[in-house]
């Protein structure tokens, strides 16, 4: 496998052989490896700051859920390390072209660069006409000009304008820009390179050749069996991640009205059952869809309006929480519309939801006013002063608007689990090198009392390590409900594919390696254990209805990764 390196300052394209140490890993660990030696004061939006896309070592193999694409760089939102991964077609196509990673350095000053990766050549082209297009119109134009044989990485106007809420869109199997490496402002990093779109040819011919074909096939069969037979996966397939709403509401941890309440009266109107009912009644959408090749979970969906025409797909739990309950919106059509606007403009629905909650508390808009929220999102796309204030993320919006209740950790908006009600995930928000990010170590499915602090530090640490490992293998986190209790099965895939003899503890070691490296990066960037905490209000304000506070001390969270800090 190779690394494709593109230097936009020099207009140079070169290929390098993948280092031997990354034979059995990739994703989050590989993106990190290109960032570790950079100076701590690196400006994330400068031409010196690289943007990396990496696949896992099983991409192209046909193993279910093995085509996550990691996007990595220095986050302009948090000032620390950032890896945000996504489904979609790009990881598969990169693997078929023989690439484990694509690295972009330098910048095109005109902001209209299209990078087109073909099997034999990489083209660097300028397309002024693509500037300021939303992701959906952009993809239509790309299809007209280049045809359909590409998966596409793109940004909308939000990324072009350097908004810190901007993400990077990745096309799904339908060819639509519906999947997102949304978090941490990586859209702004891509925008700072003047790159509007990256086209990855679907014509690559490289085959995945496991070292031991027989062993690999057996390991794959077993891995897929565990996933297929898990009853939780069946529910996820039918109801999508929206199936999460009701239980988080029961836990009293569903963000409601800017994280001032933990239960939402309209929860049943935005949950998985209701969404399934509307999708199947209306027609024109689907409750079950793959986001990447070979996925047998198929938790994605396409949500239609009352007229049976697609509004957006998928609507995910986080979006339901942040653009729904957090804004007191109990109408799926309204949430779908806001979701569509964010996708089109290239915005992270979590960060936008947090920011709009802050804006509501500041009196700019009233809770439940979907039309007004839509207009505010459009302001972000127009790059007006108000749009920039809100589009720079919840932290900066809170600073400008003078709001005290700002749900962030390391300046990144908190996802749809109030840390007072799901305390393990609260520990993750506080301690992850990524800032507030449920994907770094979600704990909500564990059979524990989520409102109590006992055991939450250990639980969060365990989940952060395993998720970091999965991210480094390009595996989807939704596998964990089935494969989490069987780490040996994932390791068996790697061993058979690459002729290794890793033990079942490989995942834990890999996860620790990832997080230790990320802590090292953050330390150079100025972070200390004192940053591993949550905003004051989570410690002091009681969250109704269970009157919960986040009662893990700053000392406890600050020392969670003490050993990894020493190792790094």
């Amino acid at each position: 496998m190779k690394i494709l390196q593109i230097d936009l300052d020099q207009g140079e394209v070169k290929e390098e052989k993948l280092a031997a140490e990354f034979k059995t890993s990739g994703g989050r660990l590989l993106t990190l490896s290109f960032l570790l030696d950079l100076p701590g004061d690196l400006d994330p939006l400068s031409s010196e700051a690289p943007l990396i896309f990496a696949t896992g070592p099983l991409a192209g193999s046909g193993v279910t859920c093995s085509h996550r694409l990691s996007a990595g760089g220095k986050s302009p939102l948090t000032g620390g390390i950032k890896e945000s991964n996504s489904g979609g077609m790009v990881a598969y196509h990169l693997a078929r072209l023989g690439y484990r990673a694509l690295l972009i350095k330098g910048a095109n000053q005109d902001g209209d660069m299209v990078i087109r990766v073909e099997p034999e050549k990489v083209h660097l082209e300028r397309r002024e006409k693509y500037r300021e297009l939303g992701n959906y119109d952009l993809l239509e134009e790309i299809r007209k000009e280049y045809g359909a044989d590409y998966s596409v990485i793109s940004i909308g106007p939000a990324g072009e304008n350097g908004l810190l809420s901007s993400g990077i869109a990745i096309t799904d199997p339908l060819g639509l820009p519906n999947r997102f490496a949304a978090r941490g402002g990586l859209g702004a990093v891509m925008g700072s390179k003047g790159v509007k779109a990256i086209l990855i040819s679907a014509k690559g011919k490289q085959r995945f050749e496991p070292q031991s074909k027989g062993e690999f096939q057996s390991a794959q069969k077993e891995f897929n069996r565990i996933v297929r037979e898990n009853p939780r996966i069946e529910v996820l397939q039918k109801y999508g991640t929206a199936s999460t709403v009701s239980m988080v509401n029961q836990l009293g941890a569903l963000p409601t009205r800017n994280f001032s309440q933990g239960t939402f009266a309209g929860a049943e109107k935005i949950d998985g059952e209701h969404m399934y009912k509307l999708i199947t009644q209306r027609g024109g959408g689907t409750p079950t869809e793959s986001c990447m090749p070979g996925c047998i979970i198929q938790c994605s969906n396409v949500f239609p309006g009352p007229d049976g025409k697609r509004i957006v797909g998928p609507i995910e739990y986080e979006t339901l929480g942040l653009l729904g309950s957090n804004l007191d919106i109990d109408c799926l059509d309204t949430i779908a519309h806001l979701n569509y606007l964010c996708n089109d403009l290239g915005l992270d629905t979590i960060e936008v939801g947090c920011s709009l909650g802050v804006a509501t508390e500041a009196g700019l808009v009233s809770y439940g006013d979907g039309k007004a929220y839509g207009e505010l999102i459009e302001e972000m796309g127009k790059n007006t002063v108000l749009g920039r204030v809100l589009g720079q993320g919840a932290f900066l919006a809170g600073q400008v608007l003078g709001v005290k209740r700002v749900p962030v950790a390391k300046r990144q908006g908190i996802s749809a689990y109030d840390p007072r009600g799901v305390k393990g995930t609260g520990v993750t928000y506080a301690t992850s090198p990524m800032g507030a990010d449920h994907t770094a170590g979600l704990t909500v499915f564990a059979p524990v009392e989520h409102g109590k602090k006992d055991g939450q530090l250990e639980l969060s640490r365990r989940m952060q390590l395993v998720r970091a490992a999965y991210d480094a293998l390009g595996l989807c986190a939704f596998l964990l409900g089935a494969t989490g209790p069987h780490p040996d099965k994932a390791v068996a895939l790697i061993n058979a594919a690459y002729g290794k003899e890793h033990g079942a503890d490989y995942l834990e070691k890999l996860g620790a390696q990832v997080i230790a490296g990320e802590l090292k990066f953050n330390e150079k960037a100025g972070f200390t254990p004192a940053n591993d905490c949550l905003p004051e209000f989570f410690y002091k304000e009681k969250l109704p209805p269970y009157d919960l506070t986040f009662d893990l001390s700053r000392e406890e969270t600050g020392s969670l990764f003490e050993d990894l800090r020493k190792d790094s």
Binding site: N230, P231, R232, T241, S246, G252, G272, Y317, P447
Partner: protein, 94 residues
């Protein structure tokens, strides 16, 4: 003396055939006995989801008794009049 308890099923209704039910129990019935009664009514498939092989509650379901997630210690707890039991498929997350 009889007491009433309401059971709500979230994404489990395809097994139970209903989204909620009211059950009349003898006073002094424990939570563990109630759960076994539910398995008796709705079949072994519910039992497999509800209890891990070592008999602990949880496995693929999360059971809440009057707002609190049920653990092994709570199985001996006696049910009181108008208690509520909510049963969810253990979620994967968002």
């Amino acid at each position: 003396m009889k007491i009433n308890v309401r059971i709500k099923y979230f994404l489990v209704h395809e097994i139970t055939g209903k989204k909620s039910e009211d059950i009349e129990l003898e006073a002094g019935t424990t939570l563990g006995e109630l759960l076994q009664e539910l398995v008796k009514r709705h079949g072994k498939e519910l039992g497999k989801l509800m209890f891990s092989p070592d008999g602990k509650p949880g496995n693929h379901l999360r059971i809440f008794f009057n707002g609190r997630m049920v653990d092994e210690e709570m199985l001996e707890q006696e049910i009181e009049e108008d208690s509520e039991v909510n049963i969810f498929m253990a979620i994967i997350g968002g």
